[in-house]
Point group: C2
Chain length 241, copies 2
Amino acid sequence: MRVLVVEDDQFHASYLQDVIAEALPEVTETIHASDGFTGQEEARAGAIDAIVMDLQMDRRNGVEAARTIWAERPGTRILFWSNYADEAYLRGVSAIVPPASAYGYVLKTATRARLKLALRTVLVEGQIVVDREVHRLQRKGPGASGALNESEYAVLLDLALGLQDRQIAERRGMSLRTLQNRLGSLYEKLGVEDSHEGRPLNKRVKALERAVVMRTVNVETLEAAQREYDAWVTTCADAKR
Amino acid sequence: MRVLVVEDDQFHASYLQDVIAEALPEVTETIHASDGFTGQEEARAGAIDAIVMDLQMDRRNGVEAARTIWAERPGTRILFWSNYADEAYLRGVSAIVPPASAYGYVLKTATRARLKLALRTVLVEGQIVVDREVHRLQRKGPGASGALNESEYAVLLDLALGLQDRQIAERRGMSLRTLQNRLGSLYEKLGVEDSHEGRPLNKRVKALERAVVMRTVNVETLEAAQREYDAWVTTCADAKR
DNA sequence: AATCCGCTTGCGGGAACCCGCAAGTTTTTT
DNA sequence: AAAAAACTTGCGGGTTCCCGCAAGCGGATT
């Protein structure tokens, strides 16, 4: 069994290799890649089927690399290893994981024992493991009730890009009023009150602020959303011809 | 000479201690603290005057710890060591550094040689060192002209919290129209156009999105701004009695 | 079948937002 | 000291945002 470690921090990478050697005696070789691009090339070249991947990397982040890898080899098992309990990453991961495969999400603050356990469970047993600290985000916002559904999340991204009501409604194929209802429930779920300590506030901006602070979105999410929107706009313009 | 290392990642901490031992032979003792709180207490108890500090920490971030430390011992030299080239942190640091002291801002991706150099330059020579990658942010926004001035930055934070025009104007002591002028220049400097690819957008939200993506603000900044605002609101309420 | 519940949609209105215009004030330049 | 540039402030108006109200639609319950 060969394992690929994709991690741009050399200390964490060598720590990982150390733990892998200890937890997985069946591993015959561990390969190291220091960013997402070389990672996906190593995976292709080396016929790798077990990967441990950092999520935050400069050249290409883990989610994007994983998407490419899974597109080529859907059975690849990937354990994500991240600094943060970040809903945006988890959402990105669980949106692209193929049914045939297995993945895990472990925080870098996890103990050595827990990391070893996750390595075995995901890479060898092919189960799904999600750190409880991360999973907590999935269901509970500090604000009101539960998680955002796909539709609300999509609207949140559009809102975050600065689109106006009409634009969002058009893009998502709903009426203006429906979109506004969606915004209403979004505000509620993000815990946006119409006033704070008796002072009124701008719900639209506050919603984005809450989403950023609660890590429902992050910089990578926003950049990806902007790219998707630009692409949509151009296809939309082409269609009109 | 005694050096305090404040860093919550044990690998980075031991690496740091290693480099310090190599670069600064005059160091007789290095002390380690794993979060901002214990860091500032160690600094107080140990009469420390040279510190290497991580910026992102769970319990108390580096900027807050530095503020406390500098308030007690303004001559303390602090080298900040961070994962990210993040304008918000640099702004936070340079806003509180006392004139009597020295500081540095080095990225964790810096080479060992550059880290050694920065250690000597800041902790021994008492000069200011800022990683060029970080300094780049200070002057250049991709959008239009240069950096935000203090007044604009303050308005940006208020906007980010979701305050309405009237609230911001009241808090910052300016008229409604003046504030709106401020917002106008803020939009310009952040590169917020009134429409993107022919589609209009919500400038207020877009401004926050740009600020987040360009790392002019980050989660810690927003949380700190919220705390300051809450404090201001309560003092304001007290004053009215 | 009748009822209920949730979601969608249109209409209308009050508040907030953004900006052009113009007059007054401060700061900088010449 | 005079002129120019920059900033502040009020007013007015067009647009957007947010929401209450009510009508329609579809699936689930009794």
